[in-house]
């Protein structure tokens, strides 16, 4: 089985994001960028399926600027076999991303697409589901367990209240949640080997996809700051304040 994994380059998880003074967006100059954490989990899951013998080849794809190559090299170092960069410096919104991925699926014919449930920049949580609809494939979103069987995959999903398991006919889409696995670190020999793995480049136009944004960002602002309150000295004082001052208990 061939697996396609989509990954995104985002501002590193540990960076405190700051809004630009002109409210046009957030500061990205000289900010550390990394693979979106949910995408790392997607790569790891594909690699584990390959190690178990359930997958034969892992193709990793990213859509973004030239530097997204680094993200793809990371995925190759973690165990993906080859990479595709759909290069653009423009903003690509989830609908356009899913249209590009649909074209990549048409070229590569994978039996499963694994991707993160959301990227930690846009926080949209849309692309996997949109790709599912465009391809008319079933989906297992927010996965915490993935079991491949003959012709199908069972996906256990994190839902509000607990867990739900669905059985999907292959080909299918899986989007990852946090508990699915703990991604490995790339070893130095694997990082060196990754430099020699094939990386193909193309443009959205080569795939015939119009990526013009449909939603305009008018402004980006910092959230309302919450003021720090007071320190209390004892449980007694705390309970008294909650009862008589805040009146919440």
């Amino acid at each position: 089985m061939k697996i396609l994994v989509a990954v995104k380059r985002v501002i590193d998880y540990n960076v405190k994001v700051r809004v630009k003074a002109d409210n046009s967006g957030v500061e990205t100059a000289n900010v550390k960028m990394s693979m979106n954490p949910f995408c790392e989990i997607a790569v790891e899951e594909a690699v584990r399926l390959k190690e178990k013998g359930a997958a034969s080849e892992i193709v990793v794809v990213s859509i973004g600027p030239q530097q997204a190559q680094e993200t793809l090299r990371t995925a190759l170092a973690l165990g993906a076999d080859r990479a595709i960069l759909v290069k653009t410096d423009e903003e690509v919104q989830p609908l356009a991303v899913s249209k590009i991925l649909k074209e990549i699926v048409a070229k590569e014919s994978p039996e499963m697409v694994i991707m993160g449930k959301q990227s930690i920049d846009g926080d949209n949580n849309q692309t996997g589901q949109m790709l599912g609809a465009l391809l008319d494939w079933p989906q297992g979103t927010f996965a915490s367990e993935v079991k491949v069987e003959e012709g199908k995959v069972n996906v256990t999903r994190e839902i509000d209240g607990g867990l739900e398991t669905v059985a999907l006919e292959l080909p299918a889409i899986v989007t990852t949640d946090l508990r699915l696995n703990e991604p490995r670190f790339a070893s130095l020999p694997n990082i060196m080997k990754a430099k020699k793995k094939p990386l193909e480049e193309m443009a959205p136009a080569d795939l015939g996809v119009d990526i013009a944004p449909r939603v305009k960002t008018l402004k980006v602002e910092p959230p309302a700051e919450r003021q720090a309150g007071i320190k209390v000295e004892s449980v007694e004082e705390l309970v008294e304040k909650l009862k008589n001052e805040a009146k919440v208990i």
Partner: protein, 310 residues
């Protein structure tokens, strides 16, 4: 101009997230219709017809809708979408699962997780784990939106008298996905997203067993028990306890954070709570910067005291 709200329910009750979504729909100033799709969901359709501001209920009954799988529900909503200017669903795991499928079918760039309505085409939504709020404008002819329920006060469940129309699922059913099973966390306590008081534990709790100290206090307050991502990652409690950008977004009257340092991703999930209490032995912990009342102390000493004091 009419807005269609997709009801979240469990085939017997309409969930509170639907009432908050209807509140957002009301702010658009259009008429509001509600789609109730399910199996044996007649009581839900009746409840929806009584909700304030609802003009019409579309009721679809089919065995294939029992578990509201995204493939079938996505097909159905895309089929009934014509004529609506806005389609809204709660930004819960229910709404997030199927709405993007509808959007792709209608060739619309959906807008996720709105926290404010500026106008019929302009909305506010958090990005970067709530570290920035974007104001976005949709250029699509129909707006597909998921609504963060904690950002909108629920409309009244009574007071409306909508007409109900029955429609057929027809060829919208998909057989590519099927329901295998469900494990819902059994709890006598309220749901995290519906609770008016929440007590959450972090890595400072040191073990899953120690969460019983929080549970005892929760029972005295009628509270729900939550956790930080660190506590979930450490295996103390299941993921559905998680409060934060990658877990549940909550905004109760009272939020008590115990042994939680206050990572950005946790704050993003609870900082809209009305009153925040932090108990942590590290006085430099960032949680104190958002807490109304901070107690710098060893949680293992003060939790028993708190239990006694309540």
């Amino acid at each position: 101009m009419t807005t269609l709200v997709i009801a979240e329910h469990n085939n017997s009750e309409l969930l509170a997230s639907t009432l908050s979504t209807i509140a957002a729909a009301k702010e658009l100033g259009n008429g509001v219709h509600v789609l109730v799709a399910g199996k044996g969901a007649g009581s839900v359709a009746e409840a929806a017809a009584k909700v304030e501001s609802v003009e019409k209920v579309l009721h679809v009954e089919d065995a294939a809708l029992e578990h509201l799988l995204a493939e079938t529900l996505g097909n159905l909503v895309a089929k009934v979408a014509e004529g609506y200017s806005h389609i809204l669903a709660p930004a819960t795991t229910f709404g997030k699962n199927f709405m993007p499928r509808v959007a792709a079918k209608l060739d619309v760039q959906m807008i996720s997780d709105i926290i404010g309505v500026e106008s019929a085409d302009t909305f506010k939504r958090p990005v970067f784990a709530g570290n920035a709020i974007a104001t976005v404008q949709s250029e699509d002819s129909v707006k597909l939106i998921t609504v963060r329920s904690t950002a909108f006060d629920a409309v009244a469940a009574e007071g409306g008298s909508a007409e109900t129309t029955t429609i057929e699922l027809g060829d919208a059913a998909s057989t590519k996905s099927s329901f295998v099973g469900q494990e819902l966390t059994e709890s006598e306590r309220p749901e995290l997203t519906a609770a008016s008081v929440i007590i959450s534990g972090g890595r400072g709790m040191q073990s899953g067993d120690n969460f019983h100290m929080l549970e005892e206090i929760a029972d005295k307050l009628g509270a729900a028990v939550g956790a930080s991502r660190a506590a979930v990652d450490a295996g103390f409690v299941p993921n559905d306890y998680q409060v934060g950008q990658t877990g549940k977004i909550v905004a109760p009257e009272l939020y008590i954070a115990v042994g939680i340092s206050g990572a950005i991703q946790h704050l993003a999930g609870m900082k809209d709570s009305k009153v925040i209490v932090a108990i942590n032995k590290d006085e430099e912990a960032p949680i104190f910067q958002v807490a109304d009342y901070g107690l710098v102390a060893d949680l293992f000493k003060v939790l028993p005291e708190l239990k006694e004091a309540l």
